[in-house]
Symmetry: C2
Amino acid sequence: MKRVKLIFLLVIIYSSFSSSAQTWVWFPGDYENWLGNQMNNRRTERGIDVPVQWKLDNHEPLMIFTKEVNLEKPEEIEVYAEGEYVIRAGWRLRVNGNKNRPTRITLPVGKNVIEIKVVNYATVPAIYVKGNTIKTDTSWMASPLENQRITVNMKHPDSPSGYYMNAGSGNLNDPNVKPSKFKLPTTPMGYVELKEMAGGKLYDFGKETFGFVKFHNLIGTGKIKLQYGETAEEALDSEHCETFRTYDVPKGKADYIVAHSNSLRYVFIVAENAQFDDVSLLYEYSPVEYRASFKCNDDELNKIWEVGRYTLQLTTREVFIDGIKRDRWAWSGDALQSYLMNYYMFFDKETTKRTMYTLRGNDPVICHLNNILDYSFYWFIGVYDYYLYTGDKHFLRQIYPKMESLMDFILERRNERGLVEGLKGDWVYIDWFDHDVDITGEVSFEQIVFCKSLETMATCADILGIDREAEKYEKLVNDVKSKLGDFWDEEKHAIVFNRKNGENSEQITKHANMFAVFYDYVSEKQKEQIKNAVILNPKIPAISTPYMRFYELEAMCSLGEQDYVLNEMKDYWGGMLKLGATSFWEKYNPEQTGLEHYTMYGRPYGKSLCHAWGASPVYLLGKYFVGVKPTKPGYEEFEIRPVLGGLEWFESRVPTPNGNIDVYAAKKEIRVTATEGEGYIIFNSTSLPKVNIGKIEKIGEHEFKVKIIGDGLEVKIEYETI
Amino acid sequence: MKRVKLIFLLVIIYSSFSSSAQTWVWFPGDYENWLGNQMNNRRTERGIDVPVQWKLDNHEPLMIFTKEVNLEKPEEIEVYAEGEYVIRAGWRLRVNGNKNRPTRITLPVGKNVIEIKVVNYATVPAIYVKGNTIKTDTSWMASPLENQRITVNMKHPDSPSGYYMNAGSGNLNDPNVKPSKFKLPTTPMGYVELKEMAGGKLYDFGKETFGFVKFHNLIGTGKIKLQYGETAEEALDSEHCETFRTYDVPKGKADYIVAHSNSLRYVFIVAENAQFDDVSLLYEYSPVEYRASFKCNDDELNKIWEVGRYTLQLTTREVFIDGIKRDRWAWSGDALQSYLMNYYMFFDKETTKRTMYTLRGNDPVICHLNNILDYSFYWFIGVYDYYLYTGDKHFLRQIYPKMESLMDFILERRNERGLVEGLKGDWVYIDWFDHDVDITGEVSFEQIVFCKSLETMATCADILGIDREAEKYEKLVNDVKSKLGDFWDEEKHAIVFNRKNGENSEQITKHANMFAVFYDYVSEKQKEQIKNAVILNPKIPAISTPYMRFYELEAMCSLGEQDYVLNEMKDYWGGMLKLGATSFWEKYNPEQTGLEHYTMYGRPYGKSLCHAWGASPVYLLGKYFVGVKPTKPGYEEFEIRPVLGGLEWFESRVPTPNGNIDVYAAKKEIRVTATEGEGYIIFNSTSLPKVNIGKIEKIGEHEFKVKIIGDGLEVKIEYETI
């Protein structure tokens, strides 16, 4: 048994350095933040550029990359870099870097400290070193300061410096493609229908998609105008379509690919003094792996899962964005859900890390993430989720200084009770409310996510062995937790919305209540009370965004209400499918009809029809029906609690860092195969179950547990579902 | 009288906004820092690029410029910008900016809030708006955040935000020259002698200078190598010359200007497969105004003053740098002296502000300026000096947030006694010492400049009306001041060098002692004791850099020892002139001979022969002989204490923000004309003096005072010098 564990440990260590191959390296976070914001800043609204509405943080313009090597024989290395650079090895060897071709230098036998200093304002300083034994990877160090000039962070003297770190990387392994030139891949795609209309041609690509429109044999002296639409109505509506762009026809007959990629299902093309033979699309996509699968006896649910995957695929770009039509921005609240869905779908670590770095930016912290108080808190939670699912301690160590400085900003802004409030400049968002809400004072929801963030700090400091910091945050957690009780209304069986001047308000919404349930911040008795008095209570305002429905359904799942959730999914998400959705929407109100469905923000096509937060069923199914989740970081240990929730059977694969967990569940049979880690299958049975490998352990009335080893062997359980 | 004062006040206000004309604007400090570091990073050493050895801070890549206007009729404006930009005015008017030509938009009648959002990573976001009534100036606001998202700095809640400020500007008034394209002007200059040598041609430009070498009718297929020298020996020494560069000959016969400007008096040109008709120089210079003058009966002193001016001229570039051959960097310690010399020479505000911004960079502060503990302190002192000489309160307000964040960094790093020590990463420099010095523990010199910096914070907070901050710093000043006494050695009549574990060390150097004298941190009795026991004591190690000789002579001047100082100047600076210096050196040791003079840092031509800190006589003469200094900010009030110090007579002009003070002094006559402010002429006389305007006031034995109004009328005093 011990042996097996050791192997897994090695796998995990290897995995956390999996980008350690010969690769481009940079200062951790800087490139990710830069790249993510290149995406963010590509947003347009009716032809007008819309850069982000929060602070953009810049990168370190001067970076020193160092690596100590001990050579048995002289070695020639090739150095590629983005920026002006100088290479130094020892006192005598100093070379100016070539900008347009690799610089070759030969290092002498013995100990060499290679130092490559890069200056680059326009894009992020980065290097790629290719030698026989010497190659850039995350074992190189990166710092904006010379080694002997690195000062201690006096606020956190026990913590590692955020300014002398292992270099960052991200699977950019081609020395001839500089990181700033990174582009998502594209693949050609044809339309499914063309309608010649008065004034132009309407192309239907058959489903929500994203890419560059290509004109075949374009010729003329005029302009081409592209009106994009998620619906035909939008594409045809020159007054109101959300995105359009006009291009001058280039000289000479040629195939012409427009410079900007866009979301679309339809494109209406108006040509003025221009002809072309045909149009196609270069579908632009993130090359994520489809590592998960889900199939069950309910075809509608299968379709929901597939459309969820496609929605997540489309909104997974350089970073996880909210929606592909609008805003095309990384939002911390939206991203947290994308991360979770991703762990049950692509298990793509790079996009997750890039998004977290993009959201966090650089120091100093002078405002909340996306300007939103709650969005700062989600970010901490996302970092811990990442660690829990991937076991990537290396990343945790790298990002920890940024966690500290964001938390410092938050702690400085507490009120005299040590709780958070929306201060000048803070946007207290929580959710779109259809009714008026007073968001001033101590808002219970914010305290809950604040408390969770402090827990995250304590846990992460502990994992990294920074004991004094862990203790400090633990104390803060206890303090905030002790005050959460203040918000409980014993009569209403609910957490009230906010407190002002020491008095609870009368407002109640579901948000704080459902978070308290799945964060386990209330007693089991309170959970039941919340379920009935709040979540299922029609007098409490219904939640109107898929964003918060995500958590509402998660709360219900965590209360064992999968049957309820399954019905809701079929009803709500199935409802969108019935309306012809090919991806899930930003908002869906079954009460609306016709074109009403596309309106939002007071605009006829304001709503995004492909919004990441619309895809939550893929997460809920993976975590609460298939029932797979890590109980130790990186699936070193995991739990599988299959719940049919009204289904006859399902069959699903959930990805783990370096393997998979396959689960088949039906009313009399559960079959599980795992290929790494070890875990427990937990299930209910009215009869005494049987298992082919290992042994059955009874852990409650009708509740049983079977241990499973990630050795690729199928564990088969015969049981009787309740 | 009141009336006169009012006029001056208006002049001062106008002056502090003097760059408010229609001009390029940016986020204050960002462009200055960027530009200064473009200069810094042009340093080379024997053909190898040497970027700065400290942290480079980047600019805000997204900037929002706003201005509210109230129009009586519609107005068309032209918007120029550096970066991608979007213009918004109200909800309806939104326009993408053109990158290559100005964007024209027409604003409607009534109240308009113009918002121009610029994104630029490569260079600093900047705009220039040209309209009939609407024009960019420092009344525009600049912020990296939308107005409603600007948070309070919780550490300094009473202080103005450093992230919503009046736009910065710097006399860049041509819309067609983007700030990033700013270049110092050049003017053609010929050599004075050409020597054809084996292997190449040696050109002598007659004096230390700086510029781009130009080849006339260059043709060939090979290379030209330029070996620069401050001496002929250096230019001819291919093995050891400090700067050289090789260029490929471009195709076709043409005049060719090399891409890099360099310091030189001599250039040795080695042509390989290349011919040219002639060579000249494009002298590259800062177009500062020669506002001061000095002439006296001593020709050597006149020459010293002129060579000092030329030294300062050459080292005044985009920013004030140390020396033009090496390091070509802005160093805070060197810059402080350049600022002071500048007030008595060019009174160039822009270069001073640019240098301060360059040195300070952006938040977060993670290391000392130039990595040097003392250099952080000099920076505060320089800011106050700037305010004192210019009266530019607008700048003080703009830079104050950067003062706070640097001081926060310093305060966090104090020891348990509240004093500063060199911690990990800090370079405790003070001076180049020829003997071993233990710089650990509480170093007295550092406490003195720390105390002065705290005083500066208190004063500036007070000036800006930030009372709680002023109080806080005042308390800190008193605390540190009360501990300065610990360093006094009653037996040795000196401030000891440092304290460790509560015990004074035996080390004594002049540094802390002379600073304590002119900062008035010791009693009059102690000052006399220091003069004799330290400054004039041959057993105390002599100061070996003109850098610290600056302060040594300043201390002696402040003790009324002008005679001594005059002799030292003639001896030391006169000594360099006798060796043929055309600018003053980084270091000069009269004991050395021949080529020894050019050695430093273990390299035969390592010494810089044009170093700003070598020019201190221009400051000492202006402040302590001509005796002019402001006693209220911006020369609103000033003092003139002419001291002949052994001279027969002198005649000098000292610039003030918007005027001049002309002083002639001889043994029996003083004549002063001032054109702004009001002040006092203070002088000693053995007889009762006479004055043509105003009246004589006796203020001590043989000491008299005459009030002068800056009305341009000459005040003539007849007296008898002692």
